[in-house]
Symmetry: C2
């Protein structure tokens, strides 16, 4: 099935902690925004910490094949303190990103009204990070010898291919070209990581010649963190590798709306496999069940999902609803997860 | 010669851009703070972009041997836009750090009065990052094949040894133990970089049993960037690897006093080789010669140098002078590089 026949088949992975709570609101808003004649089919997959505790499974292959048959994936959050670090991240989240070749990890940063950013009141922050999603030190090519001894050596290998770098850099140029400011910044550390840095910078410069209208610059990742704090308005589109992207997008979330508003898409632009949309925040076990989780990041992830499926008008309506909702938060009393979902659903339906 | 006989032999590398200007002020304050009977010998080494443009040399071995004979090194800043990225960084700066085994890269972050931090007015920020300085992806073990073709693969290897991790982790515990709050945070990414992450976390936990009074916690590097913005007061001592340390210390500088105040020491605690002290900022060629560079980061680096040489009382006086000077900046007219140096020299002498 595809979105062109106005039917969407969605794999839903609510996950752990506040995951199911925010996903419920995301689906609520999704249902409200879809055209009357659109058909939405959802199927839940029980994956995450609860499943692992019960069965030891993270993501069995047959379930991954079933998920592969959907148009897209909506993920809440996974993990709890009882699962050893890395088990679910690599066994499920990264497994999906790699298996479905999610080479564009898209993370917009926007300073909405009434957020508690330390930069609130500063000039407009509105940029998007295009983080590579299938290479870098995330490939799992590390190893150790003499483990547990005084002679242990543990290596991690960042793998960067011309194929992998070019496709994500090209995607970033396309996105920059389509935005009003048409500016693209490469973030890397090519004065130290010279081999990977050379490949990234060379590719960035070469592909750039195909996009003469896009202005470009380069920043070392350490300098980029300074600008993200001191002058985030300078950024339009940023392209960077998997690890630097991980780091600067959390920072970007912190300086713009806070992690409660940060949405992300793990995108395979070829549509050969379903893309996956998820809030950047975690499962927050400490507030699970209290009804205080903010579902906005998940709702904004639904907007990214719609845009990816070609439903840009619906995505715009969600973005506008979130902006309007946040604008009124200043004076409003604190609302529950459910109430925020209701308010957003009402706005997009209206 | 050593500091115990009250004589200091200092290698001075003024470098490029504003480097010589700020180093001159650092030396001025150093001379002012030293006891009357202390002997200070300095020798300048002409290294950096100017030298490279003129001769193609970065750091010849015989000069490195001469530098090895000093008690410590004071470095301004190196680089200009005409030098290809990486040439001076690897040919000089990293060469010194590796040759002199500067395994503790020390970077304090303190929110001084009247700074333009976006977090100004927040609770006290006063932490120190102990960044590993001789391992990680800085070792230069990367490489590429099929360079310049569509089949290029470029790898970077992060090398982590039990020897290297243990000595820097132990140094960090010692520093945490000596501070009032006695808190140490390990920053890594052990859910993805599992081999290096395992070595770091294991070492951190094992050495920690020797320091029962130090409370500990662990943060993924992405989460650490959020806390550095949203709650930097939570940190006391942070220990982390070379690359993560590079990234979070620039961020730490941005959220505390700004990069103009960030000092650093590249320290070999065994004193087998001279340690090197430098401001975190670069050579800022755009403002070189204008007399507007703030020498404070260099002056604070001199304080770190004195502390390393066992002159803690003098170091304290510099820190106090900087605090007092910054406290009065709010109302004061802008001063030149030289005037700030004079003011600080007057305070420490007084
Ligand atoms: C959970 C972790 C593996 C993941 C990552 O590092 O990519 C997360 O931090 C993210 O940014 O989505
Ligand atoms: C110039 C560069 C090699 C250096 C580093 O990455 O260590 C700098 O950023 C620093 O932090 O001292």
């Amino acid at each position: 099935s595809s979105s062109t026949d106005r039917s969407i088949s969605l794999a839903v992975i609510p996950g752990d902690g506040i995951g199911p709570e925010v996903v419920a609101q995301g689906l609520k808003v999704l249902r409200a925004v879809l055209p009357q004649d659109a058909k939405l089919e959802t199927r839940e997959y029980d994956l995450g910490a609860k499943r692992w505790h019960a069965t030891g499974e993270t993501l069995p292959d047959d379930e991954m094949e079933q998920i592969a048959g959907h148009d897209a994936i909506l993920l809440g959050a996974i993990g709890d303190p009882g699962v050893p670090s890395g088990v679910l991240e690599r066994g499920m989240l990264l497994k999906l990103r790699f298996a479905f070749d999610h080479f564009v990890n898209l993370r917009p940063s926007k300073l909405y009204p009434n957020t508690d950013s330390p930069l609130a009141g500063r000039p407009d922050i509105d940029f998007v990070v295009v983080r590579e999603g299938t290479e870098g030190p995330y490939v799992g090519n590390g190893g150790s010898i003499r483990k547990g001894t005084a002679q242990e050596i543990a290596n991690e290998v960042s793998v960067n291919t011309a194929y992998g770098v070019e496709r994500v850099v090209r995607d970033a140029y396309e996105r920059a070209q389509a935005r009003p400011r048409r500016k693209l910044t490469l973030v890397h550390k090519n004065n130290v990581l010279v081999h990977a840095g050379h490949l990234w910078k060379d590719t960035f410069d070469r592909i750039g010649r195909e996009y003469p209208e896009v202005s470009t610059d380069y920043l070392h990742v350490d300098a980029a963190t300074i600008f993200l704090v001191s002058d985030p308005a300078r950024f339009d589109v940023i392209v960077t590798d998997n690890l630097f992207g991980d780091i600067i997008t959390d920072l970007a979330a912190a300086v713009s709306g806070g992690i409660g508003l940060a949405a992300s898409g793990n995108i395979n632009p070829t549509r050969q496999f379903p893309s996956m949309f998820e809030p950047v925040h975690g499962s927050a076990p400490d507030i699970a069940g209290t009804g205080t989780a903010d579902p906005t990041a998940t709702v904004l992830s639904v907007a990214l999902l719609l845009r990816h499926l070609g439903l840009g008008e619906q995505a715009d309506r969600i973005d506008a609803a979130v902006t309007a909702d946040l604008a009124e938060r200043g004076s409003a009393a604190a609302r529950t997860t459910d109430e925020i979902g209701d308010a957003l659903a009402a706005r997009v339906a209206g």
